[in-house]
Assembly symmetry: C2
Homo-oligomer: 106 residues x 2
């Protein structure tokens, strides 16, 4: 982990990395397992996983010759905390926001 929340926001800025995060909600995965799901080299995926790790969004556990990549929910804290600042600011606009979210969820 390093600068916060910069590294977390940076990690979230790439669609591939966001897809990886969602994948990791279903199960922990090795680098090879993640790579199998993308049309890019293992090296490229590994770079993304490093960025996600720097952002604190995943943890990597060495297990023999494998590296288990696991979602780290606490890594989202700096992001949510930053966003929370706006949540407080809006206040009266929260309803509009909620409906906008619901509309977006469809």
């Amino acid at each position: 982990m390093t600068d916060q929340p910069q590294n977390a926001f940076r990690a979230l800025a790439d669609p591939t990395r966001r897809d990886i995060l969602r994948m990791l909600t279903t199960q922990d995965m090795t680098i090879a397992q993640v790579s199998d799901r993308f049309d890019m080299t293992r090296a490229a995926v590994k770079k993304h996983l490093t960025v996600l790790s720097d952002g604190g969004l995943i943890t990597v556990e060495a297990r023999g010759r494998e590296r288990i990549n696991r979602l780290d929910p606490t890594g989202f804290a700096p992001v949510l905390s930053w966003l929370e600042f706006f949540d407080r600011f809006w206040d009266g606009h929260l309803d509009a926001l909620k409906s906008a979210i619901e509309k977006d969820m469809q």
Copy 2:
């Protein structure tokens, strides 16, 4: 506006842009007003404002020769909605998450 939530996440990935957003919580600002607060050219600031606008996080209202940049809370919806997916997934971890946020807020 374009791809969602990609443009919003991309807009949030830069520290200068996040600072601009926080500034805009205190008051709507022209490009010149925003520029005055940063050690970079007006052109550079204008680029950031364009990215923020593409991300749907601000709206720009032309008023005479000025452009009023205004925070758009609804632009955060796609981001929050994406994050909400993880909120559902964690469930049992939410408490740890909350305390992590509080710790981060200090």
